[in-house]
C-alpha cells in the first residue's frame, strides 16, 4: 500500500512545519489558473451568446440606424459631425453594447457562483483567494466585451461609418474601458445582494435609462441644459462620446482626456470595491 521511496522523500519535505512562505499566488498566476475553467465555460456558452451579443445589436443597427435613420436628414453639425445618422448612431450603439455585455456577464453569473453553483466556494478551498476569483471573472468579462465589440466594429466597417482606419481600433479599446467601468460596479453589486430580484433595479433604473439618454441615439444637447449636464455625469456618456469622436475622426483631445480619465477612475475605484465586496461576502 505504502508507495515508493521517492514519494516518501516528498513527504518529509512537504511536511516541513512552519514554512515561511505564505503561498500567496501573484494576481497573474491566480487568474491564469482559472483559464481552463473559463475556457470550458465559454466553449459551453458561446453559441447562445452569439444571439445576444452579435445578432441583436445588428437588429438595432438595421432598425434604428438604417430604417429609422432614413428619415433623419440633418446637417452633420447637428449630429456632432457625423455625415449620416447611421454613422452617428453606430459608435453609440457599440459603446452601449459594451455596457450591456458587461452588465449581463456580471449579474446572473456572479449570483450563480455565489448562490446556485457555489463555484466561488469550491474555488476558495484551493490556493486561490477571493481576489483571484474576482479578477478572473472580470478578465473573462473583458474578453466578452472585447469580442462582442470587436465583431461589431468589423461588421460595421463596410457600411462606411468610420472616418479613419485607426479610429475604430482606438475606439475598440475605448469600448473595453466602458464595459469594464460598468462590469466592476455591477460585479460589486451582485456580490452584495442576496436575491436576483435586485437585478431588476440595475436593469430598469440603470441600464435602460442610460442606454436611452446617454447620447447613443441623439446628441445630448437635445436634452436641454439641465438634462445635458446630468447626461454628462454618466459614465456611459463619456464612453459614447469617446467612441464616437474616435470613429468620426472628430477628436477633441481635451474632452477625450476627460472621458478617459473619468472612465478610468470609475473602473479603478469600482475594481477595488468589487474585490472588497466579494472578499466580505465570502468570509461570511
Amino acid at each position: 500500500m505504502v508507495s515508493t521511496g521517492s514519494t516518501h522523500q516528498g513527504i518529509s519535505t512537504s511536511s516541513t512545519v512552519g514554512s515561511g512562505d505564505s503561498g500567496r499566488l501573484s494576481p497573474l498566476t491566480g487568474a491564469l489558473r482559472q483559464y481552463d475553467y473559463w475556457l470550458t465555460v465559454y466553449k459551453r456558452t458561446w453559441k447562445g451568446s452569439i444571439i445576444t451579443s452579435f445578432v441583436s445589436p445588428l437588429f438595432y443597427v438595421l432598425a434604428m440606424g438604417v430604417l429609422l435613420g432614413g428619415f433623419v436628414h440633418v446637417s452633420p453639425a447637428r449630429l456632432e459631425g457625423a455625415p449620416s445618422y447611421l454613422a452617428f448612431i453606430v459608435p453609440g450603439l457599440i459603446a452601449a453594447q459594451a455596457m450591456q455585455t458587461a452588465v449581463f456577464e456580471t449579474t446572473y453569473p456572479v449570483m450563480g457562483a455565489l448562490k446556485w453553483h457555489k463555484s466561488f466556494y469550491a474555488q476558495l478551498a484551493t490556493p486561490l483567494e477571493s481576489r483571484d476569483l474576482a479578477n478572473a471573472f472580470l478578465l473573462f468579462t473583458l474578453f466578452r466585451v472585447a469580442a462582442t465589440c470587436g465583431v461589431y466594429f468589423v461588421v460595421m466597417a463596410p457600411f462606411g461609418v468610420f472616418e479613419s482606419w485607426w479610429g475604430p481600433i482606438a475606439a475598440w479599446f475605448a469600448t473595453m474601458l466602458v464595459g469594464m467601468a460598468f462590469a466592476v460596479w455591477t460585479f460589486a453589486f451582485s456580490a452584495h445582494v442576496r436575491t436576483e430580484a435586485s437585478f431588476g433595479l440595475i436593469f430598469r433604473l440603470g441600464l435602460i435609462p442610460l442606454f436611452l439618454f446617454s447620447g447613443s441615439f441623439f446628441p445630448i444637447s437635445n436634452l436641454g441644459p439641465v438634462g445635458e449636464t446630468i447626461a454628462k455625469l454618466t459614465p456611459l456618456w463619456h464612453g459614447v462620446n469617446l467612441t464616437r469622436m474616435l470613429c468620426l475622426d472628430t477628436v477633441d483631445w481635451s474632452t477625450a482626456t476627460i472621458n478617459t480619465v473619468v472612465l478610468t477612475v470609475v473602473l479603478v475605484v469600482g475594481w477595488y470595491v468589487a474585490l472588497r465586496t466579494l472578499a466580505r461576502r465570502l468570509a461570511q
Partner: protein, 344 residues
C-alpha cells in the same frame, strides 16, 4: 509553493501503485505524533442577521495527529461547521491559536489550502460541466500541470468508481455519485489532510457504505481525515478519536471505546412496559443500573451486565412487554452529553 514538488513519481511505478498514489504523502501515525492540526482556546463569533451576535465556538483545544481519523460529533449548531471552516483556512479565527500543518492560517492561507482536501457539506460541483472536467478544472486551480492533472483525474475516477460516468453531466448523477465525485475532487491535489463535513448526510445505506469503504482506504494509505458527523455509526466506523461538541465547547474527547467506557456502561437493558407505567416502574428498579433513563416508550437501564438486570427485574415481579439487551453505543454517550432536547 511547497505542494507540488513531489510530482516526479516515475510513470511505471505510478501504474503499479495506482491506488496508493492517490495520496502519496503517506505517513502512519508516527511516534513523534506531530500535530497536523492544533488549536488552543479557538473561538469563532460572528454577527448573524437573524440571531444577532453568535458565539459559535467558545474556546476549544484540539490536536489532530498525522494519519488518524479525527471526528467532530455534535448536534446541529454545536459549532462543528464553524470549526471546520477555520481549519479549512477560509474563515478567520476570532480568538485563540490555530495551527494547520504547522502554519498559521491567517498568514499562510493559500499554502495551507494547497495541502488540504475539502469535501463540503453541500455539493459545490459545477453542475453544467461533466464529471471529468470537474476534476480537471479543479486540479488546474492548484497549478498542477495539464498532463499530470489528466492522469490524476483518471486515477481518481477509478478510485471512486465513476470511470463509466466520465462524460456524464454532474446534474445527472445520483446523490451518492456526486458525493464520491466531490471526494475525488478533494483528492486531486493529493492532500495531507482531508476535511469531510457530514460526508454521508442524505445518502442511502448502500451509498454510505461505498463511501465509508473509500474513506477507510484513504485512511489506510495514511491520509489524515477530519470528519464532522451527527451519525454515531459513522463516527464509530471511521474515527480513531473524536470530540463531542455541544454549544460551542468540547463536551468529551477520546476514542469511541474510551468515550463509551467513560460516559456509559458496557451494556444497556431496554425495557418496555405498558404506556403510563414507566415512571412508577423506573423507581422500583432505579438501583439496578448505574443510571436509569425513562423515555416515553421505554426505560433504559445502564449496566455492565444487561442480562443480570433482566433477571432482577423478573425477580421483582415486573413483567415488561418487551426487553432488549445491547451494547452501549456512541449514541448513548452522545445523548447523555448533549441531551435529548431538540436543538432546532
Amino acid at each position: 509553493m511547497p505542494s507540488f514538488h513531489d510530482d516526479t513519481v516515475e510513470p511505471a511505478a505510478k501504474r503499479i501503485v495506482a491506488v496508493s498514489v492517490l495520496v502519496h504523502r503517506v505517513g502512519r501515525v508516527d511516534e513523534s505524533g506531530d500535530a497536523m492540526i492544533s488549536a488552543r482556546g479557538l473561538r469563532k463569533s460572528f454577527e448573524s442577521k437573524s440571531r444577532g451576535a453568535v458565539e459559535a465556538v467558545k474556546g476549544i483545544d484540539i490536536d489532530v495527529r498525522r494519519g488518524e481519523a479525527f471526528g467532530f460529533l455534535g448536534p446541529n449548531g454545536a459549532g462543528k461547521s464553524s470549526t471546520m471552516r477555520m481549519i479549512a483556512a477560509v474563515s478567520p479565527t476570532s480568538g485563540g491559536e490555530l495551527s494547520i500543518l504547522g502554519m498559521d492560517p491567517a498568514q499562510h492561507g493559500p499554502a495551507i489550502r494547497a495541502r488540504l482536501g475539502v469535501c463540503p457539506q453541500e455539493d459545490t460541483l459545477d453542475n453544467e460541466l461533466n464529471v471529468f472536467d470537474n476534476l480537471y478544472i479543479y486540479g488546474r486551480y492548484f497549478g498542477i500541470p495539464r498532463r499530470e492533472v489528466h492522469e490524476r483525474a483518471e486515477e481518481l475516477l477509478e478510485f471512486v468508481q465513476l470511470t463509466e460516468k466520465r462524460t456524464a453531466k454532474v446534474e445527472d448523477l445520483s446523490g451518492g455519485m456526486k458525493r464520491r465525485l466531490t471526494i475525488a475532487r478533494s483528492l486531486i491535489n493529493r492532500p495531507d489532510i482531508l476535511l469531510l463535513d457530514e460526508p454521508t448526510t442524505g445518502l442511502d445505506p448502500q451509498a454510505r457504505h461505498v463511501l465509508w469503504d473509500r474513506l477507510f482506504r484513504l485512511k489506510q494509505q495514511g491520509v489524515t481525515l477530519v470528519i464532522t458527523t451527527h451519525y454515531m455509526d459513522e463516527a464509530e466506523q471511521l474515527c480513531d478519536r473524536l470530540v463531542v461538541m455541544d454549544r460551542g465547547v468540547i463536551a468529551a474527547e477520546g476514542s469511541p471505546l474510551q468515550l463509551i467506557r467513560e460516559h456509559s456502561t458496557r451494556e444497556v437493558a431496554e425495557l418496555r412496559f405498558p404506556v403510563g407505567d414507566h415512571e412508577a416502574t423506573a423507581e422500583k428498579i432505579s438501583d439496578l443500573g448505574s443510571r436509569v433513563e425513562v423515555l416515553p416508550d421505554r426505560i433504559l437501564v445502564y449496566s455492565d451486565d444487561g442480562e443480570q438486570v433482566l433477571e432482577e427485574v423478573h425477580d421483582r415481579g415486573l413483567r415488561p412487554i418487551a426487553t432488549l439487551v445491547r451494547r452501549s453505543t456512541l449514541e448513548d454517550v452522545f445523548l447523555r452529553l448533549t441531551g435529548r432536547t431538540l436543538v432546532d
